[in-house]
């Protein structure tokens, strides 16, 4: 079961912030799903923009990468692509493993 684990190395001074950071990412997945169900592309674009900004600031490059795709796909009103992004995001969050250094 190790092949799908995403290991991310994070500066240890961020350790206290990480639990809240992940709770907010889980909420973000729900918010993305709701916005997609409602066809609210502006909301999706804003959520993607936020993911893009915050993800790699903490060291999670994948969050920023998915966020950029959500933002772009929302601009193109591409529901299918966004749905795929949300699935990938949820999967990533469930499998990410953090190493502090």
């Amino acid at each position: 079961m190790t092949e799908n684990i995403h290991t991310v190395i994070i500066s240890k001074d961020l350790a206290d912030l990480i639990p809240v950071f992940f709770r907010n990412r889980q909420k973000e997945v729900e918010a993305l799903r709701s916005a997609l169900a409602a066809g609210d592309f502006e909301q999706l674009r804003q959520l993607g923009h936020r993911m893009k900004g915050v993800g790699n600031s903490y060291g999670f490059a994948k969050v920023s990468e998915i966020g950029k795709r959500v933002e772009d796909d929302a601009g193109a009103a591409n529901k299918t692509a966004i749905d795929a992004c949300i699935g990938e995001y949820a999967d990533y969050l469930s499998k990410v493993q953090i190493v502090y250094e």
Binding site: V20, F21, N24, G53, S57, S64
Partner: protein
């Protein structure tokens, strides 16, 4: 994270560099706070543009890290408003944005942003930029404190220079109102309504004839000390001191609605305060002396007159000439007042102390003027 002073750093209150972080994403705020506090800076936070503006007005920070895309007022709007207010325009603003395109950079520059930081934020870049801005801030503070020190020194020099002519209170007021450059009397040349008071010492000639130079100077110093202190007490401006005469102006360089009353009280007090000095001279030197005063009101020209080598703050005009002539006519302990001025002070003159001299043609004048003589004995209360 709510708007607040970021907690968790005991050094926060002592930090002398305060950053305001404005972002609607609490994770981004927490991240920036952690890094900035790690650099020994105090950090406040705001979750939207409106509360950021309120914070800046209430407690101006040394730096603003400002997100661009926020609900309500955008970072561009907030930046424009901070930079558009004279009181906050100097606060550096770094726009923190995930908007990569050049058009948004231009919008940021147009809004007055000092620098940009891209999201995702690279901590090394953030720290380097903030440190640079902090160095600039420290340099500016140092220059500002030097400028303020120089300004205080300059004002003190002006105050000292002009306290020769005017009372300390008036000197304080002039230096407080002085502009950035030049002396405060520059450009004040004007025609204005004044009250001129001339005082001199009756019996001065005998005094100089009967005493050694050193004694004459000491006596004159004693006499002028009484007169100048009295003039300053009533906020008169001393324009000239020559021989044994003193010229004092009122309603200059600042308006004094009660100039006539001030001049009158000054005259009475000069005579009264010189009384004991005169009595002492009589006892020590057998001299009979007293102060004679002439006063007149009217339009005069006030300003700095002279050359680059020598100039003096001068009062020129008819009331000055008339006051000088009246002073020459006044006996010891007597105050001669021109008609128009007397009308303004007659309510202050005790009954039986004033007498008209009728219309008098003064030396060098073609027309006669009404003159009143007021006896101002040494025991007169000012």
């Amino acid at each position: 994270m709510n708007d607040q002073v970021a907690a968790g750093n005991s050094a926060d209150a002592q930090a002398d560099y305060r950053v305001l972080v404005v972002d609607d994403d609490p994770d981004m705020v927490a991240f920036l706070v952690l890094l900035l506090q790690g650099e020994g800076m105090a950090v406040d936070t705001a979750a939207n543009g409106e509360s950021a503006l309120m914070h800046v007005m209430r407690a101006p920070p040394d730096l603003v890290l400002l997100d661009v895309m926020m609900p309500g007022a955008s970072g561009f709007d907030v930046c424009r408003r901070i930079k558009g207010d004279e009181a906050t325009a100097m606060i550096p603003i770094v726009l923190v944005t995930a908007l990569e395109d050049g058009e948004n950079r231009v919008r940021g520059i147009e809004a007055g942003a000092d620098d940009f930081l891209s999201k995702p934020v690279k901590r090394e870049e953030l720290i380097a930029r903030v440190k640079t801005l902090r160095r600039l801030h420290d340099t500016r503070k140092e220059l500002e404190s030097r400028r303020l020190a120089a300004e205080v020194q300059r004002k003190e020099a002006i105050r000292k220079a002009f306290s020769r002519y005017i009372s300390p209170r008036l000197a304080e007021r002039i230096t407080a109102e002085a502009g950035e450059h030049g002396d405060p009397f520059q450009g004040r040349a004007q025609r204005t309504s004044v009250v001129a008071l001339f005082a001199d010492l009756r019996g001065f000639t005998r005094l100089t004839e009967q005493n050694e130079v050193g004694a004459v100077v000491a006596m004159l110093n004693e006499y002028f000390a009484v007169l100048t202190e009295t003039a300053y007490q009533h906020d008169g401006t001393i324009f000239n001191m020559a021989g044994d005469s003193l010229l004092v102006g009122f309603n200059v360089p600042f308006p004094q609605p009660d100039a006539a009353e001030r001049a009158w009280r000054t005259a009475l007090e000069m005579v009264a305060r010189f009384g004991p000095v005169a009595a002492s001279w009589q006892q020590r030197h057998g001299l009979t002396v007293g102060v004679g005063i002439g006063m007149c009101a009217g339009e005069a020209i006030i300003g700095n007159v002279g050359s680059t080598h020598y100039a003096s703050y001068t009062i020129i005009g008819n009331p000055v000439n008339t006051a000088a002539r009246l002073m020459q006519m006044a006996a010891a302990g007597e105050v001669l007042v021109c008609g128009p001025l007397y009308e303004r002070i007659r309510h202050l003159v005790p009954a039986g102390r004033a007498a008209t001299r009728g219309d008098v043609t003064l030396r060098g004048k073609s027309e006669s003027i009404p003159v009143f003589a007021v006896s101002a004995g040494a025991r007169e209360q000012a």
